[in-house]
Point group: C2
Amino acid sequence: VDARLDDFFAKKLAYADALSPRAQELVGAVVELTMRGGKRLRPQLIYAGFRATTARETAHDWDAVASLGAAIELLQSYLLMQDDWMDDDDERRGGPSTHAAFARKVESPKLAASLAILASDVAIGFAVELLHATQFPPMRAVDALAAFTDMHFEVVCGQQLDLLGHADVSLTQQLKTGSYTVRGPVVLGAMLAGASDTQVQALERFALPLGVAFQLRDDLLGTFGKPAVTGKPVGHDLRKGKNTALVAEARRVFASDELASLDRVLGNAEATNAEVETLTRLFERSGVRAHVEAELRQRLTQAQRALRDATCLTPDGSGMLFELIERLAVRDR
Amino acid sequence: VDARLDDFFAKKLAYADALSPRAQELVGAVVELTMRGGKRLRPQLIYAGFRATTARETAHDWDAVASLGAAIELLQSYLLMQDDWMDDDDERRGGPSTHAAFARKVESPKLAASLAILASDVAIGFAVELLHATQFPPMRAVDALAAFTDMHFEVVCGQQLDLLGHADVSLTQQLKTGSYTVRGPVVLGAMLAGASDTQVQALERFALPLGVAFQLRDDLLGTFGKPAVTGKPVGHDLRKGKNTALVAEARRVFASDELASLDRVLGNAEATNAEVETLTRLFERSGVRAHVEAELRQRLTQAQRALRDATCLTPDGSGMLFELIERLAVRDR
């Protein structure tokens, strides 16, 4: 995937340069964020989805997996660029987020924001181009393109609900990360193999609970993770006012004085470390943390059971998916 | 095209509603802007490009023209939503622009801007989906998808140069509107017909000067147009600081006291009507207006000549393209 991205970016930088040297700056912002890291989990899920539904593996298949993996990484860059601006997050993947990087180069914050949005436009355009370059089996081509655009639509709607502080956190999370973090890549990978509908459905039964588990793990790490490992400061999610599963559960079970402590910290960038600590200890004492951890375990069990029951998948691919469960939901960063 | 859009939007509103009633609001913003009007010039160019390269016309062809036309209209909505926010334009097509409409519903301007960007995300996703629904002849499918993504890339780069106030106004305009206003639709329409490379090249020779002429007409209307007809207030482009062909020519020929008058108005929302009028009269006296009008005529002549020389195009299609020259470059709104 990285080699495919390098290749693709080299061509695009040359194309941009031919249009105007300045156009390279937008492409450069996309390259910078995309190549700065990220766990490349989604390309692994694509490959596992592919292997789970076929024993075939030709050079042509490898090529298609690489293109599709690169497309999904660029979709991810596009989403991160926009989310970071919308959430005023100035850091990403151990460096400045895209709008923060532009803000160092131009005077006006509005202009920096506009350039970051334009860079995200470039990224989604590249994602679509790489999707088009991915050769799906003819019988699955239409389904695959539809799966991609549906995934795009759902994640955008999820971001909207998130911004509006929608009361149904699990719906928001399912839309925002569920579709494109696990289900989308796994299903697209299977379509690359020309999987049967039965196989695709089996993978969906596995992917849905795993997507939720991934997000719950994210929520737990955003509040209880070690800053040195996660790269996020203590209390980051709380000070940002993120509508996490922890917060939703706290709203359900907290007494009124505990709710006051929650409201003091939530969305308050100025909250002190002591206030944050009081709140996280409250999460532990009141069983909020335990509740979310229990739900996470339950989702993992669902995903594992779905995989065990799926006799239509290859042992090889199932094995890879089992390993990915660990990496996605038992990670510490 | 409008029937296709109605149909498509009805399905998407139902899909959004199934995800979450609130998600309908993003789709609603796309519907609102797209159906509020616009000249639907691009779908006409698609159809003319199609007719110029084939005598065939089946129900299947009509269907493909409608899908592609709808795709381009949604690309246009996406661009308008973003441009209006970037340029702080609160009006569009006789109603509030998308970020301005959201600003009436939510408190924070940043949230309104974020929702407008999400609506633009929905619009470009829909555009891609309708592009995928357009059945190109197999021999042209790859070219057509590439033409679409290249067009997207170029217009985004053009917008970047525009925001940065790039010195080369004609390059900026060529990228920003040249590619997707005339050349893109005409060439995509031709590809729908399975046009030969010779035919596509002939259409490009016609489309490039016409795209420039369209933009020059836009520039002239933005400064000399009648507000009652164009829907834009007097001096709109000047107060917004738009980098038009008029401004570029003025910078080239103005004496220093005239430049002072230009700088007093350009990008100054507070400039008085008297100051604007002094400047527009300067544009006339110094030959700036005449220069831009002469260039416009020259481009029109180029486009007409290209069309007359193109023996590989059908008489029917050429006739339609001749008529479109008038509508695009001799319009008064």
